[in-house]
Symmetry: C2
Subunit: 333 residues, 2 copies
Protein backbone atom coordinates (compact mmCIF):
# COMPACT_ATOMS: atom_id res chain seq x y z
CA UNK A 1 0.00 0.00 0.00
CA UNK A 2 1.91 3.00 -1.27
CA UNK A 3 0.60 6.13 0.35
CA UNK A 4 2.24 9.32 1.56
CA UNK A 5 0.81 9.12 5.07
CA UNK A 6 1.87 8.59 8.67
CA UNK A 7 -0.19 6.38 10.99
CA UNK A 8 -3.25 5.36 8.96
CA UNK A 9 -5.49 6.13 11.93
CA UNK A 10 -4.17 9.72 11.99
CA UNK A 11 -4.73 10.32 8.28
CA UNK A 12 -7.96 12.32 8.51
CA UNK A 13 -6.89 14.49 11.44
CA UNK A 14 -3.60 15.26 9.73
CA UNK A 15 -5.02 16.28 6.36
CA UNK A 16 -7.68 18.49 7.94
CA UNK A 17 -4.94 20.16 9.97
CA UNK A 18 -3.11 20.79 6.70
CA UNK A 19 -6.24 22.31 5.16
CA UNK A 20 -6.70 24.69 8.06
CA UNK A 21 -3.03 25.72 7.98
CA UNK A 22 -3.32 26.39 4.26
CA UNK A 23 -6.55 28.39 4.28
CA UNK A 24 -6.86 30.43 7.49
CA UNK A 25 -8.30 33.31 5.47
CA UNK A 26 -11.25 31.22 4.27
CA UNK A 27 -11.84 28.57 6.94
CA UNK A 28 -11.96 28.27 10.69
CA UNK A 29 -12.91 25.61 13.16
CA UNK A 30 -15.55 26.55 15.72
CA UNK A 31 -14.21 24.23 18.43
CA UNK A 32 -11.39 21.78 18.96
CA UNK A 33 -12.55 19.26 16.36
CA UNK A 34 -10.85 20.09 13.07
CA UNK A 35 -13.23 17.78 11.24
CA UNK A 36 -15.82 20.51 11.70
CA UNK A 37 -15.01 23.65 9.71
CA UNK A 38 -16.94 26.75 8.76
CA UNK A 39 -16.25 29.80 6.63
CA UNK A 40 -13.98 32.27 8.36
CA UNK A 41 -16.68 34.94 8.74
CA UNK A 42 -19.41 32.58 10.02
CA UNK A 43 -22.06 33.13 11.18
CA UNK A 44 -23.23 35.71 8.63
CA UNK A 45 -26.16 37.49 10.25
CA UNK A 46 -29.42 37.17 8.36
CA UNK A 47 -28.01 34.76 5.77
CA UNK A 48 -29.19 31.18 5.35
CA UNK A 49 -26.38 28.82 6.34
CA UNK A 50 -25.60 25.75 4.26
CA UNK A 51 -23.99 22.73 5.90
CA UNK A 52 -22.72 19.65 4.14
CA UNK A 53 -20.74 16.61 5.17
CA UNK A 54 -19.99 12.98 4.61
CA UNK A 55 -17.05 10.64 4.61
CA UNK A 56 -13.46 11.73 4.17
CA UNK A 57 -11.45 10.79 1.12
CA UNK A 58 -13.36 12.78 -1.48
CA UNK A 59 -11.45 16.08 -1.65
CA UNK A 60 -12.27 18.64 -2.81
CA UNK A 61 -15.55 17.31 -1.39
CA UNK A 62 -16.45 18.49 1.18
CA UNK A 63 -14.18 21.05 2.82
CA UNK A 64 -13.14 22.50 -0.52
CA UNK A 65 -16.54 24.07 -1.09
CA UNK A 66 -16.77 26.08 2.12
CA UNK A 67 -16.39 29.77 1.43
CA UNK A 68 -18.03 32.87 -0.01
CA UNK A 69 -21.00 32.19 -2.26
CA UNK A 70 -20.79 28.49 -1.51
CA UNK A 71 -21.20 26.45 1.67
CA UNK A 72 -20.97 27.75 5.21
CA UNK A 73 -19.96 24.66 7.13
CA UNK A 74 -18.96 21.04 6.90
CA UNK A 75 -18.54 18.01 9.14
CA UNK A 76 -16.63 14.97 7.93
CA UNK A 77 -16.11 11.48 9.29
CA UNK A 78 -13.45 8.87 8.78
CA UNK A 79 -12.62 7.74 5.24
CA UNK A 80 -15.92 6.85 3.55
CA UNK A 81 -17.75 7.13 6.92
CA UNK A 82 -20.39 9.55 8.10
CA UNK A 83 -19.72 12.36 10.56
CA UNK A 84 -21.56 12.11 13.88
CA UNK A 85 -24.73 14.01 14.60
CA UNK A 86 -22.94 16.08 17.23
CA UNK A 87 -20.35 17.16 14.65
CA UNK A 88 -23.14 18.19 12.29
CA UNK A 89 -24.80 20.08 15.14
CA UNK A 90 -21.56 21.88 15.93
CA UNK A 91 -21.30 23.06 12.32
CA UNK A 92 -24.98 24.05 12.37
CA UNK A 93 -24.67 26.21 15.45
CA UNK A 94 -21.52 27.85 14.14
CA UNK A 95 -23.11 28.94 10.86
CA UNK A 96 -26.58 29.87 12.10
CA UNK A 97 -27.21 33.51 11.27
CA UNK A 98 -30.85 33.35 12.44
CA UNK A 99 -32.19 32.65 8.95
CA UNK A 100 -32.11 28.86 9.20
CA UNK A 101 -29.71 26.22 7.93
CA UNK A 102 -29.92 24.01 4.85
CA UNK A 103 -28.45 20.51 5.05
CA UNK A 104 -27.24 19.64 1.55
CA UNK A 105 -25.38 16.34 1.21
CA UNK A 106 -25.32 13.05 -0.66
CA UNK A 107 -27.94 10.36 -0.18
CA UNK A 108 -26.12 7.71 1.89
CA UNK A 109 -27.66 5.85 4.83
CA UNK A 110 -25.15 6.82 7.49
CA UNK A 111 -25.15 10.46 6.51
CA UNK A 112 -28.96 10.62 6.43
CA UNK A 113 -29.14 9.03 9.86
CA UNK A 114 -26.74 11.48 11.46
CA UNK A 115 -27.98 14.61 9.71
CA UNK A 116 -31.56 13.68 10.68
CA UNK A 117 -30.50 13.33 14.30
CA UNK A 118 -28.80 16.71 14.04
CA UNK A 119 -32.03 18.18 12.69
CA UNK A 120 -33.81 17.22 15.88
CA UNK A 121 -30.98 18.50 18.04
CA UNK A 122 -30.90 21.79 16.13
CA UNK A 123 -34.62 22.23 16.63
CA UNK A 124 -34.10 21.98 20.37
CA UNK A 125 -31.57 24.79 20.02
CA UNK A 126 -34.12 26.86 18.13
CA UNK A 127 -32.44 26.52 14.74
CA UNK A 128 -34.70 25.74 11.83
CA UNK A 129 -33.25 23.36 9.23
CA UNK A 130 -34.26 21.97 5.87
CA UNK A 131 -32.70 18.97 4.14
CA UNK A 132 -32.00 18.43 0.44
CA UNK A 133 -30.22 15.28 -0.69
CA UNK A 134 -27.86 14.92 -3.62
CA UNK A 135 -29.11 11.99 -5.69
CA UNK A 136 -27.63 12.41 -9.13
CA UNK A 137 -26.11 8.95 -9.71
CA UNK A 138 -28.43 7.60 -12.39
CA UNK A 139 -26.73 4.19 -12.36
CA UNK A 140 -27.66 3.58 -8.73
CA UNK A 141 -31.43 3.36 -9.29
CA UNK A 142 -33.77 3.56 -12.30
CA UNK A 143 -35.60 6.81 -12.99
CA UNK A 144 -38.79 5.57 -11.32
CA UNK A 145 -36.84 5.38 -8.08
CA UNK A 146 -34.86 8.60 -8.56
CA UNK A 147 -35.47 9.61 -4.95
CA UNK A 148 -33.41 6.62 -3.82
CA UNK A 149 -30.39 7.37 -5.97
CA UNK A 150 -27.00 8.00 -4.40
CA UNK A 151 -25.38 11.40 -4.55
CA UNK A 152 -22.10 11.82 -6.42
CA UNK A 153 -20.09 14.56 -8.13
CA UNK A 154 -23.11 16.42 -9.54
CA UNK A 155 -23.89 17.75 -6.07
CA UNK A 156 -21.27 20.37 -6.88
CA UNK A 157 -23.83 22.15 -9.07
CA UNK A 158 -26.23 22.29 -6.11
CA UNK A 159 -23.51 23.62 -3.80
CA UNK A 160 -22.75 26.40 -6.25
CA UNK A 161 -26.33 27.40 -7.01
CA UNK A 162 -27.68 27.13 -3.46
CA UNK A 163 -24.62 28.97 -2.18
CA UNK A 164 -25.28 31.81 -4.63
CA UNK A 165 -28.96 31.91 -3.63
CA UNK A 166 -28.08 32.13 0.06
CA UNK A 167 -25.48 34.81 -0.63
CA UNK A 168 -28.00 37.04 -2.43
CA UNK A 169 -30.35 36.81 0.55
CA UNK A 170 -32.87 34.12 -0.36
CA UNK A 171 -34.93 32.64 2.48
CA UNK A 172 -34.40 29.09 3.75
CA UNK A 173 -37.35 27.83 1.72
CA UNK A 174 -36.03 29.58 -1.37
CA UNK A 175 -32.49 28.23 -0.96
CA UNK A 176 -33.88 24.73 -0.44
CA UNK A 177 -36.02 25.12 -3.55
CA UNK A 178 -32.99 26.16 -5.59
CA UNK A 179 -31.06 23.11 -4.37
CA UNK A 180 -33.99 20.80 -5.15
CA UNK A 181 -34.40 22.31 -8.60
CA UNK A 182 -30.72 21.81 -9.42
CA UNK A 183 -30.70 18.22 -8.17
CA UNK A 184 -33.87 17.42 -10.11
CA UNK A 185 -32.08 18.52 -13.27
CA UNK A 186 -28.70 16.88 -12.63
CA UNK A 187 -27.60 13.43 -13.76
CA UNK A 188 -24.22 11.73 -13.30
CA UNK A 189 -22.68 8.44 -14.37
CA UNK A 190 -19.18 7.16 -13.70
CA UNK A 191 -16.74 4.56 -14.88
CA UNK A 192 -14.15 2.91 -12.63
CA UNK A 193 -10.77 1.57 -13.75
CA UNK A 194 -8.84 0.95 -10.55
CA UNK A 195 -9.90 1.01 -6.89
CA UNK A 196 -8.56 3.07 -4.05
CA UNK A 197 -6.85 1.33 -1.15
CA UNK A 198 -8.43 2.19 2.18
CA UNK A 199 -5.75 3.61 4.50
CA UNK A 200 -6.77 1.81 7.69
CA UNK A 201 -7.56 -1.63 6.26
CA UNK A 202 -5.18 -1.70 3.30
CA UNK A 203 -8.00 -3.21 1.25
CA UNK A 204 -9.15 -2.11 -2.21
CA UNK A 205 -12.57 -0.46 -2.49
CA UNK A 206 -13.48 -2.93 -5.26
CA UNK A 207 -11.86 -5.59 -7.47
CA UNK A 208 -11.41 -5.33 -11.19
CA UNK A 209 -9.09 -7.26 -13.47
CA UNK A 210 -6.32 -5.59 -15.45
CA UNK A 211 -8.29 -5.11 -18.68
CA UNK A 212 -11.69 -4.31 -17.21
CA UNK A 213 -13.75 -1.26 -16.43
CA UNK A 214 -16.99 -0.95 -14.49
CA UNK A 215 -19.66 1.39 -15.82
CA UNK A 216 -21.99 2.99 -13.33
CA UNK A 217 -19.64 2.44 -10.40
CA UNK A 218 -20.25 4.41 -7.20
CA UNK A 219 -17.64 6.59 -5.55
CA UNK A 220 -17.09 4.05 -2.77
CA UNK A 221 -16.85 1.19 -5.26
CA UNK A 222 -20.57 0.38 -5.22
CA UNK A 223 -21.31 -1.97 -8.14
CA UNK A 224 -22.37 -0.46 -11.45
CA UNK A 225 -24.54 -2.01 -14.14
CA UNK A 226 -21.88 -3.23 -16.56
CA UNK A 227 -18.45 -4.74 -16.11
CA UNK A 228 -16.50 -5.48 -19.24
CA UNK A 229 -13.39 -4.93 -21.27
CA UNK A 230 -11.98 -1.40 -21.11
CA UNK A 231 -13.39 0.56 -24.02
CA UNK A 232 -12.11 3.63 -25.83
CA UNK A 233 -12.57 7.07 -24.33
CA UNK A 234 -14.94 7.95 -27.16
CA UNK A 235 -17.14 4.93 -26.52
CA UNK A 236 -17.21 5.62 -22.79
CA UNK A 237 -18.08 9.27 -23.34
CA UNK A 238 -20.81 8.45 -25.85
CA UNK A 239 -22.38 5.71 -23.69
CA UNK A 240 -22.48 7.89 -20.60
CA UNK A 241 -23.68 10.99 -22.45
CA UNK A 242 -26.52 9.10 -24.14
CA UNK A 243 -27.68 7.70 -20.81
CA UNK A 244 -27.59 11.10 -19.12
CA UNK A 245 -29.38 12.86 -21.98
CA UNK A 246 -32.14 10.23 -21.85
CA UNK A 247 -32.43 10.44 -18.09
CA UNK A 248 -32.84 14.22 -18.17
CA UNK A 249 -35.15 14.01 -21.22
CA UNK A 250 -32.92 16.53 -23.01
CA UNK A 251 -33.77 17.25 -26.62
CA UNK A 252 -32.48 19.44 -29.44
CA UNK A 253 -32.41 23.06 -28.34
CA UNK A 254 -31.51 22.06 -24.77
CA UNK A 255 -28.79 23.79 -22.77
CA UNK A 256 -26.45 22.12 -20.28
CA UNK A 257 -23.56 22.53 -17.91
CA UNK A 258 -21.08 19.65 -18.14
CA UNK A 259 -18.83 18.33 -15.38
CA UNK A 260 -16.14 15.82 -16.34
CA UNK A 261 -14.81 14.72 -12.98
CA UNK A 262 -11.68 12.75 -12.23
CA UNK A 263 -11.93 10.33 -9.34
CA UNK A 264 -8.38 10.82 -8.12
CA UNK A 265 -5.74 9.13 -10.24
CA UNK A 266 -6.99 9.91 -13.72
CA UNK A 267 -4.81 12.41 -15.61
CA UNK A 268 -6.38 15.72 -16.56
CA UNK A 269 -5.41 14.96 -20.15
CA UNK A 270 -7.75 11.95 -20.15
CA UNK A 271 -10.57 14.08 -18.75
CA UNK A 272 -10.16 16.48 -21.67
CA UNK A 273 -10.21 13.57 -24.13
CA UNK A 274 -13.55 12.60 -22.57
CA UNK A 275 -14.84 16.18 -22.57
CA UNK A 276 -14.04 16.48 -26.28
CA UNK A 277 -16.33 13.55 -27.12
CA UNK A 278 -19.04 14.59 -24.64
CA UNK A 279 -19.09 18.01 -26.28
CA UNK A 280 -19.29 16.44 -29.75
CA UNK A 281 -22.07 14.04 -28.73
CA UNK A 282 -24.14 16.84 -27.20
CA UNK A 283 -23.59 19.11 -30.19
CA UNK A 284 -24.68 16.31 -32.52
CA UNK A 285 -27.96 16.18 -30.59
CA UNK A 286 -28.48 19.93 -30.86
CA UNK A 287 -27.72 20.49 -27.16
CA UNK A 288 -25.56 23.50 -26.26
CA UNK A 289 -22.79 23.32 -23.65
CA UNK A 290 -23.01 26.72 -21.91
CA UNK A 291 -20.74 25.98 -18.96
CA UNK A 292 -18.14 23.33 -18.28
CA UNK A 293 -15.97 22.03 -15.48
CA UNK A 294 -13.15 19.58 -16.21
CA UNK A 295 -11.00 18.38 -13.32
CA UNK A 296 -11.19 16.77 -9.91
CA UNK A 297 -14.35 17.94 -8.13
CA UNK A 298 -15.23 14.81 -6.13
CA UNK A 299 -12.69 12.02 -5.75
CA UNK A 300 -12.19 8.72 -3.96
CA UNK A 301 -8.56 9.05 -2.91
CA UNK A 302 -6.46 7.47 -5.68
CA UNK A 303 -9.30 5.71 -7.50
CA UNK A 304 -8.85 5.73 -11.28
CA UNK A 305 -11.93 6.58 -13.25
CA UNK A 306 -14.13 9.47 -14.19
CA UNK A 307 -17.71 10.59 -14.08
CA UNK A 308 -19.75 12.79 -16.35
CA UNK A 309 -22.49 15.03 -14.98
CA UNK A 310 -25.01 17.08 -16.90
CA UNK A 311 -27.15 19.87 -15.49
CA UNK A 312 -30.05 20.95 -17.69
CA UNK A 313 -29.80 24.73 -17.76
CA UNK A 314 -32.20 27.62 -17.86
CA UNK A 315 -31.31 31.29 -17.38
CA UNK A 316 -31.81 31.16 -13.61
CA UNK A 317 -29.59 28.14 -13.09
CA UNK A 318 -26.87 29.54 -15.33
CA UNK A 319 -26.88 32.85 -13.47
CA UNK A 320 -26.47 31.04 -10.15
CA UNK A 321 -23.52 29.04 -11.53
CA UNK A 322 -21.93 32.25 -12.79
CA UNK A 323 -22.33 34.19 -9.52
CA UNK A 324 -19.05 34.99 -7.75
CA UNK A 325 -17.72 32.38 -5.32
CA UNK A 326 -14.47 31.68 -3.54
CA UNK A 327 -13.40 28.70 -1.49
CA UNK A 328 -10.15 26.76 -1.11
CA UNK A 329 -10.80 24.76 -4.27
CA UNK A 330 -13.31 26.76 -6.23
CA UNK A 331 -13.33 30.23 -7.67
CA UNK A 332 -15.87 31.82 -9.95
CA UNK A 333 -16.09 35.37 -11.21
CA UNK B 1 -2.31 -0.27 -19.62
CA UNK B 2 -5.52 1.18 -18.26
CA UNK B 3 -6.11 4.58 -19.75
CA UNK B 4 -9.20 6.45 -20.85
CA UNK B 5 -7.92 7.16 -24.34
CA UNK B 6 -8.57 6.29 -27.98
CA UNK B 7 -5.67 5.61 -30.35
CA UNK B 8 -2.52 6.33 -28.34
CA UNK B 9 -1.07 8.29 -31.26
CA UNK B 10 -4.11 10.61 -31.19
CA UNK B 11 -3.92 11.28 -27.45
CA UNK B 12 -2.26 14.69 -27.57
CA UNK B 13 -4.36 16.05 -30.43
CA UNK B 14 -7.54 14.89 -28.72
CA UNK B 15 -6.85 16.38 -25.31
CA UNK B 16 -5.80 19.73 -26.77
CA UNK B 17 -9.03 19.74 -28.77
CA UNK B 18 -10.88 19.18 -25.49
CA UNK B 19 -9.03 22.07 -23.87
CA UNK B 20 -9.94 24.44 -26.68
CA UNK B 21 -13.60 23.35 -26.59
CA UNK B 22 -13.67 23.91 -22.84
CA UNK B 23 -12.00 27.33 -22.76
CA UNK B 24 -12.88 29.34 -25.88
CA UNK B 25 -13.17 32.47 -23.74
CA UNK B 26 -9.55 32.23 -22.58
CA UNK B 27 -7.66 30.42 -25.34
CA UNK B 28 -7.44 30.36 -29.10
CA UNK B 29 -5.23 28.72 -31.66
CA UNK B 30 -3.54 31.03 -34.15
CA UNK B 31 -3.47 28.46 -36.97
CA UNK B 32 -4.54 24.89 -37.63
CA UNK B 33 -2.19 23.29 -35.11
CA UNK B 34 -4.03 22.98 -31.79
CA UNK B 35 -0.76 22.22 -30.01
CA UNK B 36 -0.03 25.93 -30.34
CA UNK B 37 -2.37 28.07 -28.27
CA UNK B 38 -2.40 31.68 -27.17
CA UNK B 39 -4.60 33.80 -24.94
CA UNK B 40 -7.86 34.73 -26.60
CA UNK B 41 -7.01 38.43 -26.85
CA UNK B 42 -3.45 37.97 -28.17
CA UNK B 43 -1.52 39.88 -29.29
CA UNK B 44 -1.88 42.60 -26.64
CA UNK B 45 -0.40 45.74 -28.17
CA UNK B 46 2.56 47.13 -26.25
CA UNK B 47 2.70 44.25 -23.77
CA UNK B 48 5.60 41.84 -23.48
CA UNK B 49 4.47 38.39 -24.57
CA UNK B 50 5.50 35.29 -22.63
CA UNK B 51 5.73 31.96 -24.40
CA UNK B 52 6.33 28.61 -22.77
CA UNK B 53 6.28 25.03 -23.92
CA UNK B 54 7.59 21.54 -23.51
CA UNK B 55 6.36 17.99 -23.63
CA UNK B 56 2.75 16.98 -23.20
CA UNK B 57 1.56 15.00 -20.20
CA UNK B 58 2.16 17.60 -17.51
CA UNK B 59 -1.21 19.35 -17.23
CA UNK B 60 -1.89 21.91 -15.95
CA UNK B 61 1.58 22.61 -17.40
CA UNK B 62 1.68 24.19 -19.92
CA UNK B 63 -1.63 25.17 -21.47
CA UNK B 64 -3.26 25.71 -18.10
CA UNK B 65 -1.20 28.84 -17.44
CA UNK B 66 -2.11 30.78 -20.56
CA UNK B 67 -4.40 33.66 -19.73
CA UNK B 68 -4.67 37.10 -18.16
CA UNK B 69 -1.77 38.05 -15.91
CA UNK B 70 0.04 34.84 -16.81
CA UNK B 71 1.42 33.45 -20.05
CA UNK B 72 0.51 34.55 -23.56
CA UNK B 73 1.28 31.47 -25.60
CA UNK B 74 2.39 27.88 -25.51
CA UNK B 75 3.63 25.18 -27.86
CA UNK B 76 3.64 21.55 -26.80
CA UNK B 77 5.05 18.38 -28.30
CA UNK B 78 4.21 14.72 -27.90
CA UNK B 79 4.17 13.19 -24.43
CA UNK B 80 7.44 14.15 -22.73
CA UNK B 81 8.80 15.49 -26.08
CA UNK B 82 9.74 18.99 -27.12
CA UNK B 83 7.63 21.10 -29.48
CA UNK B 84 9.27 21.99 -32.77
CA UNK B 85 10.94 25.32 -33.41
CA UNK B 86 8.28 26.20 -35.99
CA UNK B 87 5.55 25.64 -33.38
CA UNK B 88 7.39 27.91 -30.95
CA UNK B 89 7.74 30.51 -33.71
CA UNK B 90 4.02 30.31 -34.47
CA UNK B 91 3.21 31.04 -30.84
CA UNK B 92 5.79 33.84 -30.80
CA UNK B 93 4.34 35.61 -33.80
CA UNK B 94 0.81 35.27 -32.45
CA UNK B 95 1.61 36.92 -29.11
CA UNK B 96 4.03 39.61 -30.29
CA UNK B 97 2.62 42.98 -29.31
CA UNK B 98 5.77 44.82 -30.46
CA UNK B 99 7.31 44.84 -26.99
CA UNK B 100 9.26 41.60 -27.38
CA UNK B 101 8.67 38.04 -26.24
CA UNK B 102 10.07 36.17 -23.24
CA UNK B 103 10.69 32.44 -23.58
CA UNK B 104 10.17 30.92 -20.13
CA UNK B 105 10.37 27.13 -19.94
CA UNK B 106 12.11 24.26 -18.19
CA UNK B 107 15.76 23.41 -18.74
CA UNK B 108 15.62 20.27 -20.93
CA UNK B 109 17.87 19.65 -23.92
CA UNK B 110 15.20 19.21 -26.57
CA UNK B 111 13.28 22.25 -25.46
CA UNK B 112 16.40 24.42 -25.32
CA UNK B 113 17.39 23.29 -28.82
CA UNK B 114 14.02 24.14 -30.35
CA UNK B 115 13.42 27.39 -28.47
CA UNK B 116 16.93 28.55 -29.43
CA UNK B 117 16.17 27.83 -33.08
CA UNK B 118 12.93 29.76 -32.71
CA UNK B 119 14.89 32.68 -31.26
CA UNK B 120 16.88 32.93 -34.49
CA UNK B 121 13.77 32.57 -36.62
CA UNK B 122 11.95 35.25 -34.57
CA UNK B 123 14.86 37.64 -35.03
CA UNK B 124 14.51 37.27 -38.80
CA UNK B 125 10.85 38.26 -38.35
CA UNK B 126 11.92 41.34 -36.38
CA UNK B 127 10.72 40.00 -33.01
CA UNK B 128 13.08 40.45 -30.09
CA UNK B 129 13.18 37.57 -27.60
CA UNK B 130 14.79 36.81 -24.29
CA UNK B 131 15.12 33.38 -22.69
CA UNK B 132 14.85 32.42 -19.01
CA UNK B 133 15.06 28.76 -18.03
CA UNK B 134 13.27 27.09 -15.14
CA UNK B 135 15.93 25.19 -13.15
CA UNK B 136 14.49 24.63 -9.72
CA UNK B 137 15.07 20.88 -9.29
CA UNK B 138 17.79 20.90 -6.62
CA UNK B 139 18.18 17.10 -6.81
CA UNK B 140 19.24 17.23 -10.45
CA UNK B 141 22.55 19.03 -9.85
CA UNK B 142 24.44 20.35 -6.82
CA UNK B 143 24.27 24.03 -6.00
CA UNK B 144 27.60 24.75 -7.67
CA UNK B 145 26.02 23.67 -10.94
CA UNK B 146 22.64 25.32 -10.36
CA UNK B 147 22.58 26.64 -13.92
CA UNK B 148 22.42 23.04 -15.19
CA UNK B 149 19.49 21.98 -13.04
CA UNK B 150 16.28 20.75 -14.62
CA UNK B 151 13.08 22.76 -14.36
CA UNK B 152 10.11 21.28 -12.51
CA UNK B 153 6.97 22.45 -10.72
CA UNK B 154 8.53 25.58 -9.21
CA UNK B 155 8.44 27.26 -12.62
CA UNK B 156 4.83 28.04 -11.74
CA UNK B 157 6.09 30.84 -9.46
CA UNK B 158 7.99 32.34 -12.38
CA UNK B 159 4.96 32.08 -14.68
CA UNK B 160 2.85 33.91 -12.13
CA UNK B 161 5.35 36.66 -11.30
CA UNK B 162 6.61 37.30 -14.83
CA UNK B 163 3.00 37.25 -16.08
CA UNK B 164 2.08 39.92 -13.53
CA UNK B 165 5.12 42.00 -14.48
CA UNK B 166 4.21 41.85 -18.17
CA UNK B 167 0.60 42.69 -17.42
CA UNK B 168 1.56 45.86 -15.51
CA UNK B 169 3.63 47.04 -18.47
CA UNK B 170 7.20 46.07 -17.62
CA UNK B 171 9.70 46.03 -20.49
CA UNK B 172 11.14 42.82 -21.90
CA UNK B 173 14.33 43.25 -19.89
CA UNK B 174 12.31 43.91 -16.75
CA UNK B 175 10.04 40.89 -17.24
CA UNK B 176 13.07 38.71 -17.88
CA UNK B 177 14.71 40.07 -14.74
CA UNK B 178 11.62 39.23 -12.69
CA UNK B 179 11.60 35.67 -14.04
CA UNK B 180 15.33 35.28 -13.32
CA UNK B 181 14.90 36.64 -9.83
CA UNK B 182 12.08 34.20 -9.06
CA UNK B 183 13.97 31.22 -10.44
CA UNK B 184 17.09 32.19 -8.50
CA UNK B 185 15.02 32.02 -5.32
CA UNK B 186 13.03 28.85 -6.05
CA UNK B 187 13.98 25.31 -5.07
CA UNK B 188 12.03 22.09 -5.62
CA UNK B 189 12.48 18.46 -4.68
CA UNK B 190 10.22 15.53 -5.43
CA UNK B 191 9.56 11.97 -4.39
CA UNK B 192 8.21 9.30 -6.73
CA UNK B 193 6.11 6.29 -5.70
CA UNK B 194 4.76 4.87 -8.94
CA UNK B 195 5.58 5.62 -12.59
CA UNK B 196 3.33 6.74 -15.36
CA UNK B 197 2.78 4.47 -18.34
CA UNK B 198 3.64 6.16 -21.63
CA UNK B 199 0.59 6.01 -23.92
CA UNK B 200 2.37 5.17 -27.17
CA UNK B 201 4.89 2.62 -25.87
CA UNK B 202 2.94 1.18 -22.94
CA UNK B 203 6.16 1.34 -20.90
CA UNK B 204 6.57 2.76 -17.39
CA UNK B 205 8.57 5.96 -17.02
CA UNK B 206 10.70 4.26 -14.32
CA UNK B 207 10.79 1.08 -12.24
CA UNK B 208 10.30 0.91 -8.52
CA UNK B 209 9.41 -2.05 -6.32
CA UNK B 210 6.19 -2.19 -4.34
CA UNK B 211 7.62 -0.85 -1.05
CA UNK B 212 10.05 1.70 -2.45
CA UNK B 213 10.16 5.41 -3.09
CA UNK B 214 12.70 7.48 -4.97
CA UNK B 215 13.73 10.83 -3.54
CA UNK B 216 14.80 13.53 -5.97
CA UNK B 217 13.09 11.90 -8.92
CA UNK B 218 12.52 14.01 -12.03
CA UNK B 219 9.13 14.51 -13.63
CA UNK B 220 9.98 12.18 -16.50
CA UNK B 221 11.34 9.55 -14.15
CA UNK B 222 14.92 10.86 -14.17
CA UNK B 223 16.83 9.17 -11.32
CA UNK B 224 16.97 10.88 -7.95
CA UNK B 225 19.65 10.61 -5.29
CA UNK B 226 18.09 8.07 -2.96
CA UNK B 227 15.99 4.99 -3.50
CA UNK B 228 14.75 3.20 -0.42
CA UNK B 229 11.86 1.94 1.60
CA UNK B 230 8.79 4.17 1.56
CA UNK B 231 8.95 6.49 4.55
CA UNK B 232 6.24 8.32 6.46
CA UNK B 233 4.79 11.51 5.11
CA UNK B 234 6.35 13.43 7.98
CA UNK B 235 9.82 12.08 7.25
CA UNK B 236 9.49 12.83 3.55
CA UNK B 237 8.26 16.36 4.26
CA UNK B 238 11.02 17.02 6.75
CA UNK B 239 13.79 15.65 4.53
CA UNK B 240 12.69 17.65 1.52
CA UNK B 241 12.05 20.84 3.49
CA UNK B 242 15.49 20.71 5.14
CA UNK B 243 17.18 20.28 1.76
CA UNK B 244 15.26 23.16 0.22
CA UNK B 245 15.88 25.48 3.15
CA UNK B 246 19.60 24.75 2.96
CA UNK B 247 19.70 25.21 -0.79
CA UNK B 248 18.03 28.62 -0.56
CA UNK B 249 20.11 29.56 2.50
CA UNK B 250 16.91 30.43 4.35
CA UNK B 251 17.25 31.37 8.01
CA UNK B 252 15.02 32.42 10.87
CA UNK B 253 13.00 35.47 9.89
CA UNK B 254 12.76 34.28 6.30
CA UNK B 255 9.51 34.34 4.34
CA UNK B 256 8.41 31.79 1.77
CA UNK B 257 5.73 30.68 -0.62
CA UNK B 258 5.18 26.92 -0.52
CA UNK B 259 3.96 24.70 -3.35
CA UNK B 260 3.04 21.11 -2.51
CA UNK B 261 2.47 19.58 -5.92
CA UNK B 262 0.85 16.28 -6.77
CA UNK B 263 2.34 14.48 -9.75
CA UNK B 264 -0.93 13.04 -11.00
CA UNK B 265 -2.24 10.11 -8.97
CA UNK B 266 -1.56 11.32 -5.45
CA UNK B 267 -4.72 12.20 -3.48
CA UNK B 268 -5.16 15.79 -2.40
CA UNK B 269 -5.53 14.49 1.16
CA UNK B 270 -1.94 13.22 1.06
CA UNK B 271 -0.70 16.57 -0.24
CA UNK B 272 -2.31 18.27 2.77
CA UNK B 273 -0.68 15.74 5.13
CA UNK B 274 2.64 16.77 3.57
CA UNK B 275 1.82 20.49 3.71
CA UNK B 276 1.02 20.18 7.41
CA UNK B 277 4.52 18.91 8.16
CA UNK B 278 6.24 21.32 5.76
CA UNK B 279 4.46 24.18 7.53
CA UNK B 280 5.50 22.82 10.94
CA UNK B 281 9.12 22.32 9.86
CA UNK B 282 9.37 25.84 8.47
CA UNK B 283 7.70 27.35 11.53
CA UNK B 284 10.17 25.50 13.77
CA UNK B 285 12.98 27.21 11.86
CA UNK B 286 11.39 30.64 12.27
CA UNK B 287 10.43 30.83 8.60
CA UNK B 288 6.98 32.23 7.78
CA UNK B 289 4.72 30.72 5.13
CA UNK B 290 3.07 33.75 3.52
CA UNK B 291 1.52 32.05 0.53
CA UNK B 292 0.73 28.45 -0.26
CA UNK B 293 -0.44 26.29 -3.12
CA UNK B 294 -1.50 22.68 -2.53
CA UNK B 295 -2.71 20.62 -5.48
CA UNK B 296 -1.71 19.50 -8.95
CA UNK B 297 0.31 22.24 -10.66
CA UNK B 298 2.70 20.15 -12.77
CA UNK B 299 2.05 16.45 -13.27
CA UNK B 300 3.36 13.47 -15.19
CA UNK B 301 0.11 11.83 -16.28
CA UNK B 302 -0.78 9.26 -13.59
CA UNK B 303 2.57 9.22 -11.80
CA UNK B 304 2.21 8.87 -8.02
CA UNK B 305 4.38 11.17 -5.99
CA UNK B 306 4.71 14.75 -4.91
CA UNK B 307 7.13 17.61 -4.94
CA UNK B 308 7.71 20.47 -2.59
CA UNK B 309 8.82 23.89 -3.83
CA UNK B 310 9.88 26.89 -1.80
CA UNK B 311 10.16 30.43 -3.10
CA UNK B 312 12.05 32.82 -0.84
CA UNK B 313 9.84 35.88 -0.63
CA UNK B 314 10.31 39.60 -0.39
CA UNK B 315 7.59 42.23 -0.75
CA UNK B 316 8.05 42.55 -4.52
CA UNK B 317 7.79 38.82 -5.16
CA UNK B 318 4.76 38.45 -2.91
CA UNK B 319 2.97 41.33 -4.64
CA UNK B 320 3.56 39.69 -8.02
CA UNK B 321 2.16 36.38 -6.75
CA UNK B 322 -0.90 38.18 -5.40
CA UNK B 323 -1.64 40.17 -8.57
CA UNK B 324 -4.85 39.13 -10.35
CA UNK B 325 -4.61 36.33 -12.89
CA UNK B 326 -6.99 34.06 -14.72
CA UNK B 327 -6.32 31.05 -16.89
CA UNK B 328 -8.02 27.68 -17.39
CA UNK B 329 -6.38 26.23 -14.27
CA UNK B 330 -5.32 29.18 -12.22
CA UNK B 331 -7.14 32.07 -10.65
CA UNK B 332 -5.82 34.71 -8.30
CA UNK B 333 -7.53 37.74 -6.90
Amino acid sequence: MKKIINEPAAFVDEFVEGILLAHPDLLKTPGDDLRVMVRADAPVAGKVGIVTGGGSGHLPLFKGYVGHGLLDGVAIGNVFSSPSSSQVLEATKAVDGSAGVLYLYGNYGGDVFNFDLATDMAELEGIKTRTVLGRDDVASQPKERAADRRGVAGIMFAFKAAGAAAERGDSLDQVAAVAEDIIDHTATMGVGLRPTILPTTGKPSFDLSEDEMEVGIGIHGEPGFHRGELETADNIAKTLTDRLVADLSLTSGGRVAVLVNGMGATPLEELYVLFRRVHQALTEKGITVEKNYVGEYATSLEMAGASISLLALNDDRLALLNAPAQSPFFKEG
